[in-house]
């Protein structure tokens, strides 16, 4: 029982990485209709930037704040430069652009920081805590807490602020939003910036566990895509829940299903994507839009 509990909790821990990446993917998808395959590598770049700052003697938390700001700007800039010209194009064009971004950014990261994996010290120290019989490291607990706060802040932003409302309006019906003096282009850039920031939180705070390398986010990206599929690309909350569920599921599968192990863990997201698309293509929380004539 304790063993199971331990596995659930540590699965939940990695679930927070997938949840934040999935949320970022949703934000971009709702705004621009693009599935951003570069979301993971954008977070990788953020993690490297944090590593550079910290290894030059900067305090971890100060570095985190600076990196978040830089990621926001970078995300918005990517939207302006690469996405704006193809706005409203077919899904295939969007796919091509974000995959090109993935490959390009990965190359840029390797060019700047090299291919060697780096280690970022955990800001939470090396201690561990017992939670109802299961043992969690301070890093696991602290990282999960930081991501949880980020997700709640993002939710509150969309629900309670007028800027969040305007962003939702621009994402849902750009033509109508323009007639209400909303600068839709600016909202989309903001959405990309925000997505990059949310992804950066996960990239930096989990870097001590994942290790900083060009491929650090690759498997997380796959799990995040599965999470967004599971929760529904249209549903921010659904993507987060999907991420947590997948974290637990992947962990349990690798522990308890014979033959899967940690190498084949990625079978789980593929199975989830496959099943969801087959049984409920809009995802668990996605709505088939409720429109009346």
């Amino acid at each position: 029982m304790t063993e199971l509990w331990q596995q659930v909790l540590s699965g939940l821990g990695s679930g927070f990485i997938y949840a934040s990446l999935a949320l970022a993917i949703c934000l971009v998808f709702q705004g621009t209709g693009a599935v951003n395959f570069a979301q993971g590598v954008m977070a990788t770049a953020s993690a490297y930037l944090a590593w550079s700052l910290v290894s030059n003697g900067m305090n971890f938390w100060l570095a985190l704040v600076l990196v978040l700001a830089a990621s926001f700007v970078l995300g918005a800039l990517i939207e302006r430069v690469f996405i704006r010209p193809v706005e409203g194009s077919s899904p295939l064009v969007m796919l091509t652009v974000t995959v090109a971004l993935l490959i390009g950014l990965q190359a840029v990261v390797a060019l700047i920081w090299g291919d060697d994996p780096q280690q970022l010290q955990s800001p939470f120290g090396g201690g561990s805590v017992e939670v109802f019989g299961a043992r969690l490291t301070a890093q696991q607990l602290g990282a999960a807490a930081v991501v949880l706060v980020t997700l709640l802040l993002a939710g509150a932003f969309f629900r309670f602020t007028t800027l969040g409302l305007r962003m939702r309006a621009a994402a849902q019906n750009p033509a109508s939003a323009r007639l209400l003096s909303i600068d839709v282009g600016r909202m989309l850039a903001l959405g990309w910036g925000l997505a990059a920031t949310v992804g950066a939180v996960a990239g930096v705070i989990f870097a001590p566990t994942l290790g900083v390398s060009p491929a650090m986010m690759d498997s997380s990206l796959l799990l995040a895509l599965a999470a967004a599929t599971l929760g529904g690309f249209e549903s921010r909350g659904g993507a987060v829940v999907g991420g947590l569920v997948l974290g637990v599921a992947a962990n349990l599968a690798s522990r308890y299903i014979p033959g899967i192990g940690s190498d084949l863990q990625l079978v789980v997201p593929f199975a989830v994507i496959f099943l969801v698309l087959l049984l409920r293509p809009q995802g668990l929380f996605g709505r088939v839009s409720s429109v009346r004539a």
Binding site: L165, R166, A169, A175, L179, L180, I182, S289, R292
Partner: protein
């Protein structure tokens, strides 16, 4: 004072010309109808004004040449547009839809939001009763009310309304047009109403333009056009105007 002036406005969709040199003017505070059959250019004229279709010629609003401006910038000057199909944000609540309307006014009349909201709720009580409901769940008539209420809460100086009667029962249309007239008088707002049903439109507006094939073919006061059987027969269709054929 002329609030809106269109001079020789031309517009095309994918190479097909929809407006062939429109000339029209709207004075502050008056209610004007655009009449004409399907495809006469009513919708395109409204879109040319709000900047949602690219045009040649000159669109001047409040002494500013807004030709070629992005739609959100035109809206900021005080042009409200209730588009064809109403443009409801279906996944947002009624309340959120209305809030977006009040946000559209920018810094103008910001202290006035509460009273304006109360006035709109009084005019369309259903929007208060359903305020937490998803806008997509409203009926067609209710969505039309929501669209007008939302546009009007932006406190525009010119409101463009596209076919409010489309798909609605005559009773509902009459009610909506009457509400529009009340607001127009109270908030000194100019209204440009595109409407296929000439009789119903001429019952509420001050003036009207009759369009055919993307230009103005007749214009005059509502009273004049109601009497002008030649224009009615030629462009508006007898059954539309309520006269026996």
């Amino acid at each position: 004072m002329t609030l809106l002036q269109l001079t020789g406005v031309r517009a095309a969709y994918d190479g097909v010309q929809a407006l062939h040199g429109m000339d029209l003017a709207v004075t502050g505070g008056e209610m004007v109808a655009l009449l004409g059959a399907n495809g006469a250019g009513k919708t395109t004229t409204l879109r040319a004004i709000s900047g949602t279709v690219s045009v040649e010629g000159a669109v001047v609003f409040d002494e500013r040449d807004v030709t070629g401006w992005a739609a959100h910038r035109v809206a900021r000057l005080g042009v409200g547009h209730v588009p064809e199909g109403r443009g409801t944000f279906v996944d947002l609540t009624v309340e959120e839809n209305l809030t977006l309307g009040t946000l559209a006014r920018g810094s103008r009349l910001r202290g006035q939001v509460k009273e304006d909201l109360a006035a709109v709720h009084e005019l369309f009580p259903i929007l208060r009763d359903f305020s937490r409901r998803q806008a997509g769940a409203l009926s067609g008539g209710q969505q039309q009310m929501l669209a007008i209420a939302r546009a009007i809460l932006g406190r525009p100086r010119l409101l463009l309304v596209d076919e409010p009667s489309l798909g609605l029962a005559p009773m509902v249309t009459t009610e909506i047009l009457r509400s529009l007239r009340v607001l127009q008088a109270e908030w000194q707002l100019a209204v440009l109403l595109a409407e296929q049903n000439a009789r119903r439109a001429l019952a509420v507006v001050d003036r009207a333009y009759v369009l055919e094939s993307g230009r103005v073919v007749a214009s005059g006061s509502a009273a004049e056009l109601r009497e002008n059987t030649a224009v009615q027969d030629a462009y508006l269709g007898a059954e539309q105007t309520g006269r026996p054929a």
